[in-house]
């Protein structure tokens, strides 16, 4: 899982940084590398939430740890908080590493303190949405490999179709619509918009309606995941 969460995004930062910049000016090359680094950081966060988390839940179920914990006088919230905090720490580490490699490869960003703070909020939304999807997968896919592969598959496919891995401007209109309603993709565009500019985001993801939609859908995914996890993972048979 370390490969998919940290290794794979870093490989794409390296490939992207040196392959897709052509004869563009140094400034454009630097910002393109910045946009690629952001996309790959988002991909890492997606993998952590959508594949690592369900993998861990399924593993704990398979080896009896969930049964053991359920037999103890523990509030399910405690188990849930532990999982989310561990995932958060792992996601932060992954994000810092991917951006650091991008920076070392020449990625540059242009932002104010407010832009940076707002970006952190969108990163948090990506984390929250990915964790929600991860909890849904972990609750319903019982086996470890099935849970991990479902998570990785969903991450790769949704990232490719929603413009996380491909520029928004080159997507067909139907996928551009999907990119706007898929909160991970719209949050990715918002971060790109804030840190490298609208040219690299493809549209204005910070309009009020788009921001509200992103916020609402990200939180909804998290709440759905949380309900599924607490109802079905902790439910007595």
């Amino acid at each position: 899982m370390l490969f998919w969460t940290i290794g794979w995004p870093i490989i794409w930062v390296l490939i992207g940084s040196f392959s897709f910049t052509g004869d563009a000016s140094a400034e454009i090359v630097a910002y393109t590398r910045g946009a690629i680094s952001i996309s790959m950081m988002v991909f890492g966060l997606m993998t952590a939430g959508m594949a690592n988390l369900p993998g861990n839940i399924a593993q704990d179920r398979e080896r009896g740890l969930l049964t053991k914990v359920m037999s103890m006088p523990i509030n399910p919230w405690r188990d849930f908080t532990g999982r989310i905090l561990a995932l958060f720490a792992f996601s932060v580490m992954s994000a810092i590493l991917v951006i650091a490699v991008g920076f070392a490869c020449g990625a540059r960003f242009f932002f104010t303190t407010i832009d940076f703070t707002t970006s952190l909020a969108f990163i948090l939304l990506i984390f929250v949405a990915s964790a929600g999807i991860g909890m849904l997968i972990g609750t319903f896919v019982k086996h470890v490999h099935g849970a991990i592969m479902s998570g990785v598959g969903l991450t790769v496919v949704s990232a490719a179709l929603s413009g996380v891995m491909t520029p928004y401007a080159y997507l067909p209109s139907v996928l551009q619509n999907f990119a706007r309603i898929y909160p991970i993709s719209s949050a990715n565009s918002a971060i790109t918009y804030l840190l490298v500019g609208i040219k690299y985001a493809g549209y204005n993801p910070l309009s009020v309606s788009q921001t509200v939609l992103t916020l609402f859908l990200a939180l909804s995914l998290f709440i759905f995941g949380l309900i599924a996890y607490s109802r079905f993972c902790w439910k007595k048979e």
């Binding site: 398979e62 080896r63 009896g64 740890l65 049964t67 053991k68 914990v69 359920m70 037999s71 103890m72 006088p73 523990i74 405690r78 007595k236 048979e237």
Partner: protein, 274 residues
């Protein structure tokens, strides 16, 4: 004690509040299982300890879940590791532990202070004979403390350790008494245990003739014949087997085991998978 599929694990899961009963009522020291979680410790069949952590780290994790502070936990965990004989290996990763060591570590998770009912679900399954003996020694030591141990097993020799044994079949407790009383009340006097070169319907049918109540039980290596008159039956069994070309490679007379009692009561073998 009961065969696979008889409902042992289901019963343990309900007692541990992991499953809900479809009907009936359970009380543990006067409380419902959910409310008795604070005094009930459960070791499921699966190896739930993390192989990536050390033995000490695993126990510290469970101490944390139970709300102990780090300082409190350290001393208690040290004591628990000593109790289960793992103090020397406390800082080794669990992946380096043998099956028996891992099971003992998992038993340590239910030895935190305050627990009154300890449920061990088939803890000796998969252990080699030496690890099994060592593990049962630990259970014997725990017996002397002020706790009730519910040991779930399909192995008669494990059940022999208990002060009371409940025999379960198809979800129903069919008998419950101290092991010696169960054996005495079974009416089984003696058993001729025979290891044979051949196992077939013909051999089984022949051996049935030597049991007054036509009772024999197939084992992995041969048969057990329940008979009242061992002295008379044994030479005749050997002779008759010879006549049909089947060699008795080992023959001994024993007292009935709990498996025999189960067989007597249900006409089924304990090792039989439903």
């Amino acid at each position: 004690m009961g065969p696979n599929g008889s409902g042992k694990t289901t019963l343990a899961s309900i007692l541990a509040s992991v499953k809900s009963p479809t009907s009936g009522k359970i009380e543990i020291f006067g409380k419902k299982p959910e409310a008795a979680k604070k005094i009930t410790g459960y070791v499921p069949q699966e190896n739930f300890s993390s192989p990536l952590l050390t033995g000490r780290e695993n126990l510290m994790y469970f101490a944390g879940l139970l709300g102990y502070s780090k300082n409190e936990a350290f001393d208690i965990v040290d004591e628990l590791l000593k109790k289960v004989g793992l103090r020397e290996d406390a800082n080794k990763r669990v992946s380096q532990y043998s099956g028996g060591m891992r099971k003992r570590l998992e038993v340590a998770t239910i030895l935190f202070p305050g627990l009154k009912l300890l449920i061990l679900d088939e803890p000796t399954t998969g252990l080699d004979p030496s690890a099994r003996r060592k593990f049962l020694g630990l259970v014997q030591e725990l017996r002397n403390e002020e706790t009730t141990i519910l040991l779930i097993t399909h192995i008669g020799a494990d059940a022999d350790l208990a002060s009371r044994v409940g025999l379960i079949d198809r979800g129903v407790i069919i008998a419950e008494d101290p092991p010696e009383k169960l054996k005495r009340n079974s009416g089984l006097e003696n058993v001729v245990n025979i290891e044979t070169s051949i196992k077939s319907d013909k051999v089984a049918s022949l051996l049935t003739n030597f049991s007054e109540k036509m009772k024999i039980m197939e084992t992995e290596t041969g048969y057990r014949v329940f008979t009242e008159n061992v002295e008379k039956a044994t030479p005749n069994i050997v002779r008759s087997l010879d006549e049909i070309g089947c060699k008795a490679t080992r023959i001994e007379t024993t007292k009935p085991s709990l498996e025999d009692v189960f067989f007597k009561l249900t006409e089924r073998k304990v090792s039989e998978v439903d």
